[in-house]
């Protein structure tokens, strides 16, 4: 299956592949700028957790521990970095991080990293839909 089969909203024009495939890290790690671990509750996670902490709320708490707060929308705001959290049912499925130019970056499971124009580009797939945006202030020395 190629990316267009997996993500019906993706088009040639709304995304670009930005890395090789790797299983070393996942979208949660990538959103948190870590590329040496697969972040998973009960395995490697920023807060105390169990393997059953698979809900959207569990992921929101994890990113709160990294300085993010809930945001009502994902529109680009100067001075803030935003996340789009995707869910299907009650389970979290994916996180995308907004780039300084307003586009978004995602690690697709153990496939590639991509840049996509909007969070909606990955919706209506096994990722479900964006169920929560989060944001935190950008620090001047932060690696974007």
């Amino acid at each position: 299956m190629n990316l267009f089969d997996l993500f019906p909203n993706l088009t040639v024009g709304n995304h670009e592949i930005t890395s090789e495939r790797t299983i070393k890290y996942n979208c949660i790690a990538w959103a948190a700028r870590s590329t040496d671990r697969w972040w998973q509750p009960g395995v490697h996670w920023p807060i105390r957790s169990s393997q059953e902490d698979l809900g959207v709320g569990d992921l929101v708490l994890a990113f709160k521990s990294l300085g993010y707060d809930e945001s009502p929308e994902g529109r680009f705001e100067v001075g803030f970095e935003k996340l789009a959290i995707y869910g299907s049912g009650l389970m979290y499925t994916h996180v995308a991080r907004q780039l300084p130019d307003g586009r978004w970056t995602s690690k697709l499971g153990q496939l590639e990293d991509i840049t996509h124009s909007t969070p909606e580009a990955l919706e209506h797939s096994d990722y479900g839909e964006v169920v929560q945006f989060m944001k935190r202030p950008v620090h001047p020395d932060q690696d974007r």
Binding site: M1, L3, L6, F7, I23, K24, N26, C27, I28, D36, R37, W38, W39, Q40, V43, H44, Q51, E52, L54, S88, M91, Y92, T93, H94, V95, K107, L108, G109, Q110, L111, D126
Partner: protein
């Protein structure tokens, strides 16, 4: 149990389920979602006989077999300091398999 003594039918069933699971989950990030796929649950349901096959597969390509291995065996040889490191976790399970005689040395 060495993998060479595993029946052909068990081996074929595992290969079929494994291929289905991998094709359906490579783009997923939540191991809960990855392991809830029917083919993965079916592999767990095959029980201890399938462990040598999982270990052989893990030896050829790191993947999210840790949940299944722990569910089947009740063990977890992955220490906290390497948890989340896919390569190191795979090595820990392969060492465990060799100690148990479930994988060629």
């Amino acid at each position: 149990m060495p993998s060479t003594s595993i029946s052909q039918s068990l081996h074929e069933r595992f290969q079929k389920l494994k291929d289905n699971w991998k094709a359906r989950t490579r783009h997923l990030s939540n191991v809960g979602q990855i392991s809830l796929v029917f083919s993965y649950q079916s592999i767990i349901g095959m029980g201890p006989e399938v462990v040598p096959l999982i270990l052989a597969e893990l030896e050829s390509e790191p993947d999210h077999w840790f949940w299944a291995l722990e569910a089947i065996t009740g063990e977890n040889p992955v220490s906290d300091d390497i948890a989340g490191d896919m390569e190191a976790s795979a090595k820990a399970w392969l060492q465990w398999g060799r100690r148990k005689g479930l994988l060629a040395k």
